[in-house]
């Protein structure tokens, strides 16, 4: 790891000021991706702005018909939250399946979303549930937030403060993990709210998380696993690597989506 200066702001405002003064700085949330990346020297920020002590950044509450989660809330806290378990059990289950217990005790929802790893779990929930990302500057709808692999709508000096998830009528997340890394080769989050059904796919797209138009169209008439029988997803734009070809991932998407719909209906 290359040397950096370390800052521990007490407020989001201070964090934004520090980021403004250090254009090369990175935000440190749970560090479960950033620190390994820095250790491999794939990232070498001149400064780290640690949000660990910034006030009002973590916690879970229900506001109206939304579950609002602070950006520094750890995966383990989302996984075991009674509020999330009651309102959006699929989100609690997703958080409980990230990494391993020690990683879940450090990693944060804000960090995962801001990083937008193409195989991360959280972006699929944010996109399928139609969440709103609340930053220190504005509110960003999920459909506009994710802008390709490791790329988001966040501007310089912009920090995620909260994520607001509308409570769906039915939802579930299902992933096909790589047997070694346990990262999703294909992960599918399905969410039904009123007449709208959204299907977000992680792990498969070469541009990161995306909505599957084919699966959404099939589920529009009837939210049922059988609706996905015979659905074909195009392999173009999907990842092809040593773990799986793009054709294999394309095949997996409706298969995993079908399992997710069955899981959502069982609840």
């Amino acid at each position: 790891m290359y040397a950096f200066s370390y800052h521990s702001p007490k407020t989001v405002r201070q964090a934004a000021t520090l980021l403004g003064k250090n254009p090369d700085a990175k935000v440190l949330a749970g560090g479960q991706t950033l620190l390994p990346t820095m250790k491999q020297r794939l990232a070498s920020p001149s400064a780290l702005v640690d949000l660990g002590k910034a006030e009002g950044m973590s916690g879970i509450e229900v506001k109206g018909r939304n579950v609002v989660i602070g950006a520094m809330t750890r995966h383990a806290d989302v996984a075991t939250s009674a509020i999330v378990g009651e309102a959006i059990p699929a989100l609690a289950a997703l958080a409980g399946g990230i990494g391993d217990p020690a990683v879940r005790n450090r990693g944060t929802i804000g960090g995962s979303i801001a990083n937008n790893d193409p195989a991360a779990d959280y972006p699929s929930a944010v996109l399928a549930l139609g969440a709103t990302i609340i930053t220190n500057k504005r509110k960003i709808p999920a459909d506009q937030f994710f802008q390709g692999m490791f790329s988001t709508a966040l501007e310089e000096g912009e920090v995620i403060v909260k994520v607001s998830f509308p409570i769906p009528s039915k939802a579930a997340y299902e992933k096909f993990p790589n047997p070694a890394s346990r990262y999703a080769m294909v992960g599918v989050f399905v969410a039904k709210k009123g007449s709208e059904t959204r299907v977000a796919v992680t792990g498969a797209g070469s541009d990161g998380v995306f909505r599957s138009a084919e699966c959404e169209a099939a589920l529009k008439a009837r939210f049922n696993p059988k609706s996905l029988d015979g659905v074909k997803v195009k392999a173009s734009g999907l990842n092809s690597d040593i773990h799986a070809s793009s054709e294999y991932r394309a095949h997996l998407i409706p298969v995993i989506a079908k399992r997710a719909v069955a899981k959502a209906m069982a609840k």
Partner: protein
């Protein structure tokens, strides 16, 4: 350099460290608490697991400065050679180790599992919960037995 103060195994320590010092490095090289091991250094293997404010974390993937104000417990903080922690005793009694390199992390993770899941742990739960700890010797079988026995023994502690 950055100043960091934390409580390690019940004692307050303050030090000036390079901000890039990992918690594992700080424990081993500054405090000479070498019971915390670094196996993979990529947050896969779990040999470096310690408790920070009562929760298991991977100390190779945490900055020491980020633990300012925290309470840290390492393998040295849970028992002594004469008075082993019940989980340590269970690993000894059940042959839950061969080379022993992964054992400190296994035991710290095992105690965390008991803290979260209680004293009656079935095999499936233990195996799932040990996902972040790798052992290259035992094949895990006796580790799973040790964790189940240690969990029960901790109830009578």
């Amino acid at each position: 350099m950055a100043s960091v103060t934390m409580i390690v195994n019940g004692k307050e320590v303050t030090a000036n460290v390079d901000p890039r010092t990992l918690l594992a490095q700080f424990l081993r090289e500054h405090l000479h608490l070498t019971g915390t091991h670094v196996g993979c250094d990529t947050s896969q293997c779990g040999a470096c697991v310690v408790h920070v404010d009562g929760r298991s974390i991977k100390s190779c993937t945490t900055l020491a400065v980020a633990c300012d104000g925290a309470s840290v417990t390492t393998i040295e903080g849970i028992g002594t050679p004469d008075h082993l922690h019940p989980m340590q005793a269970a690993f000894r009694e059940n042959h839950g180790l061969q080379c022993g390199f992964c054992t400190p992390g296994m035991i710290m993770s095992a105690i965390d599992i008991v803290n979260r899941k209680g004293h009656q742990l079935d095999e499936h739960t233990i195996r799932e919960e040990l996902e972040g700890n790798i052992c290259r010797c035992t094949g895990y079988h006796n580790i799973v037995k040790a964790v189940a026995a240690g969990a029960q023994a901790m109830a009578g502690k």
